[in-house]
């Protein structure tokens, strides 16, 4: 049995760990609420952009625009969205694993698979596996802005239009609820028919477009500006989904950790009291037996 002092030290340490996990849970809860709000605010916008794309794409020959044309996939770019910080349950591990499994499964079918990674957790994961990581963005998820998303989006579009890559995928955690995050592995370029996922599933309830729509200044000019813009919005949404997922995962993980610490604390306290009790009993026995022997 460990000494009283050792048990006491253990109690103090568990108690302070519980304090930290509880604080982290509260912080994650607050951040989750904010991230969720931003995500909800963005959804109508993403949906409208998608509606415009569907209308445009419906009357366009896919071969007519570089971002719509499907080429035989030889060179592939995968963007993986992870966080900079850990202690968020399986948040990073899930998305990293999904991307890595895809890369391993398709390595012999492609000439080249290049990774671009958002977040230090993804960077470390792929570095350990010596994957082909071309670029790492850090410090993104703790402050997601449309500008930052646009920057990343434009780089994806540029690499694709240059002909460096024939397809672009994005791997991220989709936010379902604080308890559930769903790893998504989606093709963003060439743009899928029917537009990008806008986070609310189908967009079929909108009025169907007529064929005699006027485009200003010209249809091509509208296409040229709106298609890259839709990629930016999609990247932005994926980043916000990731933030909300990260916070949700952290909240759940820290809640479990706090609960476990409480349980552990109960057990050690019991052990401590038992040890204390047994010392008292031993002392009492010593005293009584001492008194007994004096009598004799």
């Amino acid at each position: 049995m460990p000494s009283l002092k050792a048990i006491r030290r253990r109690i103090v340490s568990v108690r302070s760990t519980a304090k930290i996990t509880r604080a982290m849970k509260l912080v994650a809860t607050a951040k989750l609420r904010r991230a969720q709000e931003r995500l909800i605010q963005l959804r109508p916008y993403a949906k409208r952009v998608n509606n415009m794309i569907t209308e445009l794409a419906a009357g366009t020959d896919p071969e007519a625009h570089a971002l719509l044309a499907v080429r035989p996939p030889k060179r592939t770019l995968v963007l993986v969205l992870t966080s900079d910080r850990g202690l968020a349950g399986a948040f990073n591990a899930n998305v990293n694993k999904a991307a890595w499994n895809w890369v391993k499964a398709n390595a012999d079918k492609r000439e080249l698979i290049e990774l671009r990674v958002v977040g230090k957790k993804g960077r470390d994961f792929f570095k350990a596996r010596q994957a082909n990581v071309a670029h790492v963005y850090t410090d993104v998820l703790n402050n997601v802005t449309l500008e930052r998303a646009t920057g990343i989006g434009r780089e994806l579009v540029a690499a694709y239009v240059d002909g460096h890559f024939d397809e672009v995928f994005i791997a991220y955690n989709e936010f379902k609820s604080a308890m559930t995050q769903l790893v998504q592995f989606e093709r963003v370029l060439p743009l899928p028919q029917g537009g990008l996922d806008d986070g609310k599933g189908a967009n079929s309830d909108e009025p169907r477009p007529g064929v005699d729509t006027i485009f200003e200044p010209t249809k091509d000019a509208v296409l040229d500006s709106i298609l890259p813009m839709s990629i930016d919005v999609h990247v932005y949404r994926c980043l916000l989904e990731s933030v909300a997922s990260e916070m949700g995962a952290r909240m759940t993980a820290m809640d479990a950790a706090t609960k476990n610490a409480g349980e552990l604390l109960g057990r050690i306290t019991l052990q401590y009291n038992r040890a204390r009790q047994s010392i008292i009993t031993t002392e009492l026995m010593e005293i009584t037996s001492g008194a007994e022997s004096l009598k004799g």
């Binding site: 916008y45 449309l146 200003e216 200044p217 509208v222 500006s225 709106i226």
Partner: protein, 135 residues
């Protein structure tokens, strides 16, 4: 006619109106009920929502698109939309001065990209002053 102005931070305006004047990429667009289906880019400028006789709501929009479907639904998607009450006239004026000064130092022929960015900043500040002045 139903008008919706949607930004990445939420739906900024939604309601039944008599008409809209949107700053189209190739000139202002007056949109009334029954307008033909349209999809146009927008420039930075004032978007006027006509609520009724002599009751106009001017808004700042910074680029984006206007989408008319079925002659009765107008959707404006833009990255930035501000109402007069979101703005402070003095701050907008100051911003315009700074932006104009910066633009004056940029040469259109050599720093084209930078010039475009700064020109847009001037346009935005100008629009803000105009909208803020209607308060």
């Amino acid at each position: 006619m139903k008008v919706e102005i949607v930004t990445p931070v939420g739906i900024k305006y939604s309601g039944d109106v008599e008409g809209v004047i949107a700053p189209g990429a190739s000139g202002d667009l007056g949109i009334l009920p029954g307008h033909q289906a349209l999809l146009s880019g927008l420039r930075t400028g004032v978007c006027t929502v006509q609520l009724g006789a002599h009751n106009d709501l001017p808004l700042v929009v910074d680029g984006g698109y206007v989408h008319v479907v079925g002659g009765q639904t107008v959707t404006i998607t833009t990255e930035l939309c501000e109402k007069a009450e979101d703005l402070v006239l003095d701050a907008a004026r100051k911003q315009l001065e700074e932006a104009t000064a910066e633009l004056a130092q940029t040469r259109d022929d050599v720093e084209t990209e930078l010039w475009k960015v700064r020109k847009r900043a001037v346009d935005l500040a100008e629009t803000r002053v105009r909208v803020a002045g209607t308060k």
